[in-house]
Amino acid sequence: MPTLIRREGAGCAWADDTFVTLEDEAPDPGGDVIVTLSRFLAEGEALAARPAGRLGVRLEPEDEVEALEGRLAPVVLVALSFPKFRDGRPFTAARLLRTRLGFQGEIRAVGDVLRDQAGFMVRCGFDAFVPSDGSGPEAWALAAARHRHVYQRAADGRAPAFLERQGG
């Protein structure tokens, strides 16, 4: 049963997750893998040179997203971990990945991930979610589209209210 939800256009859909999350000492099984930041920093070149399989990096809230600056070329996915849904650091990490580091791959929310945060997550640049509350893609699509207007610039390119107002 799939557990991964991806943004698709304005909606959301179940998606197959081909990635395996690797612990630091675990042997590389080949195929698509997600490694920790420390493993990525230590073995980045070897990981980038793997003959098959794509590469993802997982950041814990205390990991500095700037550590990935200039090293994102082989990375197709960054997983940002919410040990508790109340931990707001991954929102900043996602926003900086998109707007400052220019990352265009998948940003995936993992851990304690609730649909009630969908709107904020999408605005900050997340486009994939592994919910922990049993919610499905319909609920995520609804929650993400809940607000017709926003007041701030973020990472989603939506025009904030102050620009909408100028436009007439």
């Binding site: 707001g88 929102f91 809940r146 017709r148 207007h149």
Partner: protein, 550 residues
């Protein structure tokens, strides 16, 4: 006053619908209380000792009569006929049913009110000088910036799960009526050398367990760069504020751990990276500013029989002395409405009283009502010729207590009568002190003296910045009270110093009286209580309170 446009209304409608859905999922059991808690908190819904409490935001303390009447209606329909104004200039309803909360939010939304971000670890209701737009000593109307901050901080996608709550105050007068220096961010409007306006930015003030007067991290921030700078502060805090200990999670702990200079450097570095992309276009600031033009008050009006009545009616003269403040326009005054009637609960107001305030604001006050962080209300634009009628209207419903800034104008948190966190009661202590000093001549002779009472160390009653602060503590199941002296929430902000051992509840009012008597003995010339205390130090006061304990 700012009026919601279609965008503001849509944001509110969408948010209210979202919360209705969340409440339904909670009531059906789909959401656990643990999952629901942060969601309800972001909508101002607390579970208190006896019931749910709903805290309604009053952005920068500004209400119109239609909104005030809607609050009265909610108090009658969903509560026990009254509401309670808080030190964040919000109003809370203490006896709410969870199932009613969505309907209350709909009723609020109908008059452009809401409970968004009145609790939870997010940016809370921004507060302003309650005399904004009317104060004779004001540089510029701070509400322009408050409204812009309200919008920027509402449902902020990046800063809604901060380490802890976050409070911002804005003032534009040399006399600080917002307690800006004990806020997470205090913005003091300044005039720059170029004639433009900007802000002195204070970060990391606060009360609670570890009170701090916040340091200035930027002496002058041009006002058109405000939002990129706020974003930088919040981002540094969101990333680096402590999340391992709720008592060390406020930004004041981060600022003092790093040191103000190092913190300021981090903010500057982040600010540089954000650049002007984070700022609000001038056109939007101008749009908001146009909503805050001083109401058309006409030419200087006659003051009618104001002076004659003042001379003839001592009770009216007393009200004028204590509750009427200088307006920037001749012929007008600012009327303070005390919610500190002797023997009443500080900050409480009945539905009937709300309606009278709404009527008076409509007839005589340009439809403008303010709430203050000292739990009072203000009619900021009243013609002097109408003050007498306003006074009579207020007196008819017990709202004309002439005690602004006097000893019975006490801030008190709800304490153990309502609050799940409290160690001790606060309301009855305030009531008892107010009764002791009920005689108005004596209260005026004592002069400005701010007593602030908290029922626990979280300091919602601002005891740290009370000239006399009173903190309730629990000693083996009994209520005791710790006295502090010398605090101030004004421009001379200071944290009060503990006077001595905590006292049992039945000795608190006697101790306050002993302090007052010592002040009256010691004071010279026109000294206020604080002036005398700063000159003499604690010793005479400690002696007065604890003499018989030797």
């Amino acid at each position: 006053m700012y009026r919601y446009d279609a965008v503001d209304r849509a944001v509110l409608a969408d948010r209210t619908a979202e919360f209705r859905d969340q409440v339904e999922r909670r009531l059906s059991g789909e959401l656990t209380e643990d999952q629901f808690k942060p969601l309800r908190l972001m909508n101002g819904l607390y579970l208190q000792l006896h019931a749910y409490m709903l805290r309604v935001a009053v952005p920068y303390g500004s209400l119109n009569p239609v909104q005030m009447r809607a609050l009265a209606d909610i108090a009658r329909r969903f509560d026990r006929g009254y509401g309670h104004f808080t030190t964040r200039t919000n109003i809370q309803f203490n006896w709410v049913r969870l199932a009613d909360a969505p309907d209350i939010l709909d009723a609020l939304a109908a008059v452009d009110l809401h409970a968004i971000q009145t609790s939870g670890n997010c940016i809370r209701n921004v507060t302003a000088d309650p005399y904004a737009g009317a104060a004779a000593d004001e540089l510029e109307d701070p509400r322009v910036w408050c409204e812009a901050i309200r919008q920027w901080s509402s449902l902020h996608p990046e800063f809604s799960f901060l380490p802890r709550k976050f409070k911002i105050a804005v003032t534009a007068s040399p006399h600080d009526r917002t307690a800006a220096k004990v806020h997470d961010i205090g913005l003091l409007l300044r005039r720059g050398r170029d004639g433009e306006t900007g802000f002195e930015v204070i970060v990391g003030g606060g009360m609670g367990r570890t009170p701090h007067v916040g340091p200035t991290i930027k002496a002058y921030l041009p006002s058109d760069r405000l939002f990129s700078y706020l974003e930088a502060i919040l981002r540094v805090y969101n990333r680096h504020g402590r999340r391992d200990n709720i008592y060390k999670a406020r930004i004041k702990i981060l600022v003092s751990a790093l040191g103000a200079e190092a913190f300021a450097r981090e903010v500057e570095a982040e600010w540089e990276r954000i650049g002007t992309d984070g700022d609000l276009p001038r056109a939007e600031v101008d749009r908001i500013r146009s909503a805050f033009t001083t109401p058309d008050l006409g030419g200087a009006p006659s003051s009618g029989d104001f002076e004659a009545r003042r001379a003839a009616e001592p009770a009216f003269a007393r009200f004028v002395r204590n509750n009427l403040k200088a307006h920037l326009r001749p012929g007008y005054g600012i009327v303070d409405i005390s919610l500190k009637g002797i023997g009443e609960t500080p900050g409480d107001i009945s539905a009937d009283q709300m309606e009278v305030v709404a009527d008076l604001a409509e007839r005589f006050g340009q439809g403008d009502i303010r709430a203050t962080h000292e739990q009072n209300l203000v009619l900021p634009h009243v013609r002097l010729e109408h003050v007498h009628e306003v006074w009579k209207g207020l007196a008819a419903v017990g709202l004309a207590t002439p005690n602004i800034n006097l000893i019975s104008d006490i801030i008190a948190c709800p304490g153990l009568d309502y609050c799940a966190l409290a160690n001790a009661r606060a309301i009855c202590v305030a009531q008892d002190i107010a009764r002791r000093f009920e005689a108005p001549d004596r209260a005026e002779a004592i002069g400005e003296l701010k007593i602030k009472i908290s029922g626990c160390i979280n300091a919602c009653g601002h005891h740290h910045v009370g000239h006399i602060g009173i903190l309730g503590v629990d000693k083996k199941g009994e209520e005791f009270y710790q006295l502090t002296l010398g605090g101030s929430g004004a421009e001379d902000a200071a944290v009060g110093k503990m006077l001595g051992p905590a006292l049992p509840i039945d000795r608190v009012t006697d101790a306050v009286e002993a302090i007052v008597e010592a002040y009256l003995r010691e004071r010279t010339g026109g000294e206020r209580f604080l002036d005398t205390l700063r000159r003499t130090g604690d010793a005479p006061f400690r002696e007065a309170v604890y003499a018989d304990a030797h």
